[in-house]
Symmetry: C2
Subunit: 146 residues, 2 copies
DNA sequence: ATGCAACCTCAAGCTAGCTTGAGGTCAAGC
DNA sequence: GCTTGACCTCAAGCTAGCTTGAGGTTGCAT
């Protein structure tokens, strides 16, 4: 951990494509941590580039920041994550992704039945079912099938 | 169109499982239309149950209200949609769903490569690519892969 | 004709995920 | 030593998709 390995926020932003404000936001949410210079400026580790990459990828897979934080918390505390730490995390995401694909595939099958009858009826059609909503949690309909 | 076929908003809510406030919200957004009684109360057609069902289903598939409105606008104006109108719309949704599944499947393949190297690097990894974000539109990362 | 549930409008609030702006500080080059 | 750009905090704003609340009206049953 050489002094050259500490990155200011702008550099991290440049490397990840994120906005500076977004990185500060993530820090605020506890997704990433920074050291401070004596002048109160943030300094990040090189490995935080990877951490932010993970956040971006996981977001693309439809995970919310809270879920992502949960995933990230599985990384070792104190030491810089190794390659195999990241592999473990990736596999964990792969499981989530699998589930998502399966659910969509099942939904497509139902939709196909539904196209057959053209009903779109909440009563007759399996496509939509009330209990799903109840179990969805949070306010309003979800954006993502989960 | 018998007088019995006009439903007050509460009845529509009961039939669809939606909150009354949500239905008013959708009306406000132009997703559904209502007649008014002389006392200014909303009255809906029976076929609006199906319209709302469609909204719910499309939302589960990850479509936003704007996209859903675009889909719905393909329904015939003036007359109550027929079964084959709904079938056409369902097929249109099926296409969107197909695309979504394909994208996820491709992503999974990339993730698998990535697990191999454990890199999660924006430079080397295909999983995340900057141009996707640029093309995403709107503010911030999207919730759903599209 | 009266009571009360269901309806109305309009404004404000909430979660997620950020951005933008105001007002101020730090650090490096000339 | 002074300018300039990158950095800081804190508060407010924005989109999506609704809900909640205040304050008022309708309409159906008794």
């Amino acid at each position: 951990m050489d002094k050259n390995d500490l990155l200011p926020i702008g550099e991290l932003a440049r490397r990840t494509g994120l906005a500076v404000s977004a990185i500060r936001f993530y820090e605020d949410k506890g997704l990433i941590q920074a050291m401070r210079t004596m002048g109160n400026q943030r300094r990040f580790l090189r490995s935080d580039i990877r951490r932010l990459s993970f956040i971006l990828i996981a977001q693309k897979l439809g995970l919310g920041l809270t879920e992502i934080e949960a995933e990230l918390s599985q990384l070792p505390q104190g030491r810089t994550p190794t390659l195999s730490d990241w592999q473990k995390l990736s596999r964990s995401v792969r499981v989530a992704l699998d589930a998502k694909i399966q659910l969509l595939t099942r939904t497509r099958a139902k939709l196909d039945e539904c196209i057959g009858c053209g009903c779109l009826s909440l009563q007759r059609c399996q496509l939509y079912n009330r209990d799903d909503r109840a179990g969805a949690g949070g306010t309003g309909p979800r954006y993502v099938l989960e």
